[in-house]
């Protein structure tokens, strides 16, 4: 019974392949789709870049929600911190080199992740969700009040990044920004693939499934979650910095409850707990939103709502999660 379809099982513990084929497939898919997008929608590169930035936010939520089981409606705090971090660096400190701006955004995101993590992880379940909402409102209000630094409700304008690597100007059509975003996405994707397979990734998955077992192994669940929050802050912060660099303006909407909630919805739509789910959910949601709001500006929210209900009812594991299950059945067991 036990020794069935897997030939490697019979050989005892096999030597694992050094290279991770899943990452290779994902990498190729991102490049192919990314390049196709560039040529198919040359007039929509700003939207595509925005999708990539939000994708980074959704991946970041997936780290804490999908992998660690922390429900949050305040994750835009990490994204917005990255956007304002990069923007303020450029506007107030003259740091206009795009790679440096991205690093500043990542650090700002990590800090915001640390702060929100400390607050949110004090509670569990519903109170945790409420704390996360409180956090995003506090961040929003802080950015609003500190208008000398953030431009308040007018937004932080005048971000003028240098040419990328001193060679590629951020052009009017958003070509450089899009390609830069695509490269950032690839780097983050590969980094997260390594992370989720690492010992720490296993520990985090364990902490979600059974925190008591993890503590009986001598690992502190809370410190695992807090570390993951900081890592997720880096990812969201990079997304925020990409927005600042590509749109050259940062608004309070990047620190909003709406963005937090929408991005959580995107994650659920695609499927939690897998990087592909996060990415697919973002693309489908934003593409659908764009399509429907153009076709029917009055009822697009209704349509998005209908899509969501359909997914939750008929594909409760999200588009990717349910797709993977069906595919798995088709093949008669995966792996």
């Amino acid at each position: 019974m036990a020794v069935s379809m897997n030939d490697s099982v019979t050989a005892g513990l096999p030597v694992r392949r050094k290279f991770d084929t899943g990452s290779l497939i994902g990498l190729v898919a991102i490049i192919v789709i990314g390049v196709a997008g560039y040529f198919l929608f040359p007039n929509n590169l700003a939207l595509l870049t925005r999708i990539i930035a939000i994708m980074l936010l959704v991946l970041s939520i997936d780290l804490v929600t999908g992998y660690c089981g922390v429900a949050t409606l305040g994750h835009a705090a990490l994204f917005g911190a990255g956007a304002y971090g990069a923007g303020i660096a450029a506007v107030h400190f003259g740091i206009t080199e795009p790679l440096t701006m991205t690093v500043v955004g990542a650090i700002a995101g990590a800090l915001a992740g640390l702060i929100s993590g400390i607050v949110i992880l004090r509670a569990h379940g519903l109170p945790q969700l409420v704390l996360s909402i409180a956090v995003i409102h506090l961040f929003h209000e802080a950015a609003n009040k500190a208008s000398a630094w953030t431009g308040g409700s007018d937004g932080l304008a005048g971000i003028a990044p240098d040419a990328l690597l001193g060679m590629f100007q951020f052009d009017l059509w958003g070509r450089t920004a899009y390609i830069y975003g695509l490269v950032l996405l690839i780097v983050v994707f590969l980094g997260l693939r390594v992370l989720v397979r690492s010992p720490f990734g296993m520990l985090a998955r364990g902490a979600r499934e059974d925190p008591i077992r993890i503590s009986a192994m001598g690992a502190s669940v809370k410190s695992v979650l807090l570390r993951m929050y900081v890592i997720s802050g880096v990812v969201a912060g990079i997304g925020g910095a990409l927005t600042a660099i590509s749109t050259q303006v940062v608004g309070l909407d990047s620190l909003s409850f709406t963005l937090s909630a929408e991005s959580l919805v995107m994650l659920v739509l695609g499927g939690t707990g897998s990087l592909y789910g996060a990415m697919i959910g973002t693309v489908v949601f934003m593409w659908f939103e764009d399509l429907v709001s153009a076709a029917n500006p009055f009822h697009w929210l209704t349509m998005v709502g209908a899509l969501l209900i359909a997914v939750v009812l008929f594909a409760p594991k999200g588009l990717y999660g349910s797709g993977a299950v069906i595919l798995g059945r088709f093949k008669g067991g995966r792996k």
């Binding site: 513990l13 096999p14 296993m202 998955r205 009986a216 192994m217």
Partner: protein
């Protein structure tokens, strides 16, 4: 000489209910103790109290001469006080190999690494393989835990405890839910525990108790009513009385 593990005057109330009543016991290196008692006697609660999963109402707990009463659950494990669970607690989407690797990495303080995979760490893999072999789980090492039988999951519980290399091991009914035909494998695993490890095993299966334990402690309604040799326990009047009603034939196993 001070004891390796010592509990003094431990009490626990849930509301008005006293579940642990002035419990004191001590263990030294290499001990093989069975903790028995009728259902609801407070055996699991005792384990929860000493491992830090529950807070005692009063009493203190010492490990290797150190007072650990105030220590949290994770630091107790790191100090060498490890437990298993009466109802298996495992990660259903992970494989036995991943479980044991995670425990080894955790013990080695390498579980925080954000890069690399345990399969690329030869020392870790060697130890994982050794433990899985010892418990006869090698063939299952790459199946998800949800796909393996409950008896094998119980063995994996023991494997996890071993991988943490404890000084004191508290096993909460390691054979619970295991079909009679498979208890031999559990017993075999218990035989393989390091001889200098102090083990306290909660168990209802009296055959297993008598083969395993050099000393038996009986808990009834939260109070220790007997602490002595396996021989003496069957003759003890209070023990018989405690078991009457729950399972009157407790002595028939002797």
């Amino acid at each position: 000489m001070s004891a390796l593990f010592e509990v003094r005057g431990l009490n626990k109330n849930f509301g008005g209910l006293t579940v642990t009543n002035n419990v004191s016991l001590s263990m030294t290196t290499g001990d093989r103790v069975a903790l028995i008692g009728p259902n609801g006697a407070g055996k699991t609660t005792f384990v929860n109290l000493v491992t830090g999963h529950l807070k005692p109402t009063s009493g203190d707990i010492r490990l290797a001469g150190q007072d650990i009463t105030g220590a949290n659950a994770t630091s107790r494990v790191r100090m060498g006080l490890v437990r298993s669970f009466q109802v298996t607690r495992l990660f259903y989407d992970m494989t036995p190999e991943e479980h044991v690797a995670l425990a080894v990495l955790q013990r080695e303080k390498r579980s925080g690494r954000v890069m690399g995979h345990y399969a690329g760490m030869p020392e870790v893999m060697d130890e994982v393989r050794e433990i899985l072999e010892l418990l006869g789980l090698v063939e299952l090492s790459h199946l998800k835990v949800r796909e393996i039988a409950y008896g094998q999951q119980r063995l994996l519980e023991i494997a996890l405890a071993m991988a943490l290399r404890p000084k004191v091991l508290l096993l909460d009914e390691p054979a619970a839910g295991v079909p009679q035909s498979e208890t031999a494998r559990i017993e075999h695993a218990l035989d393989k525990l390091p001889s200098d490890l102090a083990v306290l095993m909660i168990e209802h299966d009296m055959d297993l108790v008598f083969r395993f334990a050099k000393r038996v402690i009986v808990l009834a309604a939260g109070t220790i009513i007997f602490d002595g040799s396996p021989k003496a326990v069957t003759q003890d009047a209070r023990v018989r009385e405690a078991y009457l009603g729950s399972y009157a034939n407790a002595s028939s196993a002797a």
